[in-house]
Amino acid sequence: MIGWPYRAPRLFGAFVLTAVLASAGPPAWAAAPADLELRPPNLKPAPKSVEAGMWDDSDRAEAHTRIAAELDTDPALQAYVRGVFCKIAADYCGEARVYVLDRPFLNATCFPNGYVEVWSGLLLRAQTEGQLAYVVGHEVSHFARNHSLSKWNHDKTTRDVATVLTVGVQAGAMFGMVKVAQSGAPNSRQMIDDISDMAQNLNDLIYLGAMAHIMAYSREHENEADRLGFQRAVAAGYEKSTGPDMWTGTIAESRASDFAAVRKADVRASIYRTHPLDQDRIDALKAQGGVVAAPDIDARKRYRAAIRGHLGSWLKDDLRRRDDGQTLFLIDRLSEVGEDFGVLQFYRGEAYRQRRHDGDAPLALAAYKTAVGYPDAPVAAWRELGEALRRAGDKPAAAEAFETYLAKAPDAEDRWLVEASLKTVKGA
C-alpha cells in the first residue's frame, strides 16, 4: 500500500481545506448514471489482476470464518438468511456462500468472491424480513457494482496523486530555501523557516484533501448501494418502507445509548465520514419512493418466527456491549410484536440489573416478576427474581422464587448456591 507520512494538520491547512470542500459541496444522492453496469454472475477475475488479489483475501477471510467461533451453526437460520439473499439477488444466488456470525452489531458484508457475512446484530435489529432484505440488498449492490475494486483503484490513484504533489511541494520548498540561502539576504533564516512552514501546511492540505476525496467516494458508493438495495428489495416484493424504517430504527437506537458520543455520532456531518448520515439516507430513500411507516405487525411476527430460537442468546450477546440504554431500546421494540414476553422481560431485568443506575433495582424486579408469568421465561428468571426480592427485603417471596427455581432446575450447577440463598432468606 502506498502512503505518505501523516502529521497533525495545522490549523491553517484544515481551515483552508474545510472552506474549499464546503464550497464544493458533497456529491448529491444518486450521482451514478441510470444504466448502471452490473457484474455478470459467476464472474472470475483475470489471473494476477488486482481483483484476483482481492479474491485471494476474500478466500482467506472465508476460510477463517468457516472455523470461527462466531459462526452460527444453526442450519435453519443459515438457510433462512440464504433464502432472503436469493430472493433479492437471484442473479447471484448460485455463487453466494452466506454465513451468519454471532456478532452483536448491525452489519453485513458481501465480499468480491461471493462470500457473504450477515451479523446477528443485524438480524436482531431488523424488524421484518424486508428490512433484512434491504440491508443484504445494499451489500449485494456493492458486490454487483464491484465497488471494492473501483474503490481500490480510486484510492490508489488519489494516493499516487497526493504523493506526487507532496514530493513536488517538498522539492519546490527545497529549491526555494536554497535560493534564499544563496541570496545572502539579512532575513534569510526567517524566510527559510517561512518556506518550510508553508510547505508543511501545503502537505497537510494535500493529505486532508486526499482523505476527504477518498471518504467522499466511499459515501458515493454507500448512496448508490442504498438506492440499488432498496430497488432490489422492492422488486422482490418487500414493503417500500423497508429502507427508511431500518435507518429510522438505527437513529432511535443511537439516541437511546448510555453514551453521549454514540448519541451524537450520527448527527455530526463530516467530510471524513465513510457513510452518509442516517437521516440523509432516509431522505434519499424517500426521494426514491420509500415511505416511513410503522412496520406491518404480521410481517414482524413472521420474521420473529424465523429468529425466535436465537432471541435469548443474541440479547445476552448484546448485553455484553454494555450499552444498556440501547439494549433496553431494542427490547422495547421487540416487545411491540406482542410475543416472547418471558424472554424479553427476563433480559429487560438483566439489563437493569447490570446497569445498576439509581432506580434500576425495582425496575429489574418488576421485569423478572413479569417474565415468570410467561411460559417462555428462562428458568434463570426465577433465580434472579429470588435474588431481586431478597435485595428488596421480601424474604417470603424470595424463598418462594428460589424454591420454584430449584424445582424447575433440579440439576442446575448452581443448586448449592441457591440452596444457600434459600436458607438465608428463611433465616436458617
Partner: protein, 195 residues
C-alpha cells in the same frame, strides 16, 4: 473488525518481541507471591510475569505464564475494589465488567465470564460450579470452556472470593489440547494455597 483485530495482533506481537528481545519480562520464583496487602498464594514452579505484554489488564491484575500467554496464562487479581475490573476501560463508550461489593455469587461468576469474553474469547461457558476456600473466606470455583476468535478450543478454571470487600481472582486459561492439562497441577496448587 478484521482490521482492528489484525492491528491488535500486530501490536501484541510487536510487544511480545520487544519483551523477549529486551529481556523485560520478569521471572517469578517458586514460593509465596503476594495477592494484595493481606493475602498470598504459593507458586510451585517458576513462572514468567507476562503482565507487561498484556496492556488490557488492569493494574491490580498480574498475569503469569509458563509457555507464553497464548499457550497458558493465569490472571491473579489482587484485591479488586468496587468499580474495578480485571481489564482496563479503553474509553468511555466501551465499559468493561466491574466488581461490585453486593454481587451475588452468580453475579461473580458472570463477572468472570464477561471478563473472559471482554478479553476476546468467545462462547464462554462455565461448568462444575463448586465451593472453595480463600483463607477464612468462602469462595467459588468453576471451570470454563471457550474458543478463540479463530476457533481454537480453550479450557479454564477460576477461583474467586470476596474478602474485606475486595475481590480476589485466580483465573487460568489455556488451549484445551495439551497445554491446559500440562500446567493445571501447578495452578491447582496455586489455588489451594491462596489465603
Amino acid at each position: 473488525m478484521k482490521t482492528i483485530s489484525t492491528a491488535s495482533a500486530f501490536v501484541l506481537l510487536a510487544l511480545s518481541l520487544i519483551g523477549c528481545g529486551g529481556g523485560t519480562l520478569d521471572g517469578v520464583s517458586p514460593g509465596p507471591m503476594a495477592m494484595g496487602d493481606k493475602h498470598h498464594l504459593t507458586l510451585t514452579r517458576r513462572w514468567a510475569d507476562v503482565s507487561p505484554i498484556l496492556p488490557q489488564r488492569s493494574k491490580k491484575v498480574r498475569v503469569l505464564s509458563v509457555d507464553g500467554p497464548w499457550l497458558n496464562r493465569v490472571y491473579v487479581a489482587r484485591g479488586l475494589q468496587p468499580g474495578e475490573g480485571m481489564l482496563k476501560r479503553q474509553d468511555k463508550e466501551h465499559p468493561v465488567p466491574s466488581f461490585h461489593a453486593d454481587m451475588a455469587p452468580t453475579e461473580l461468576v458472570e463477572f468472570a465470564t464477561d471478563s473472559v469474553s471482554a478479553m476476546g474469547y468467545m462462547r464462554v461457558e462455565t461448568s462444575k460450579l463448586r465451593p472453595a476456600r480463600f483463607g477464612a473466606a468462602d469462595g467459588l470455583r468453576f471451570d470454563l470452556a471457550a474458543k478463540t476468535e479463530s476457533g481454537l478450543e480453550v479450557q479454564g478454571t477460576a477461583q474467586m472470593a470476596v474478602a474485606g470487600k475486595k475481590l480476589y481472582v485466580i483465573l487460568y486459561l489455556a488451549p484445551a489440547e495439551h497445554y491446559y492439562a500440562a500446567t493445571l497441577p501447578d495452578v491447582e496448587e496455586m489455588m489451594r494455597s491462596a489465603s
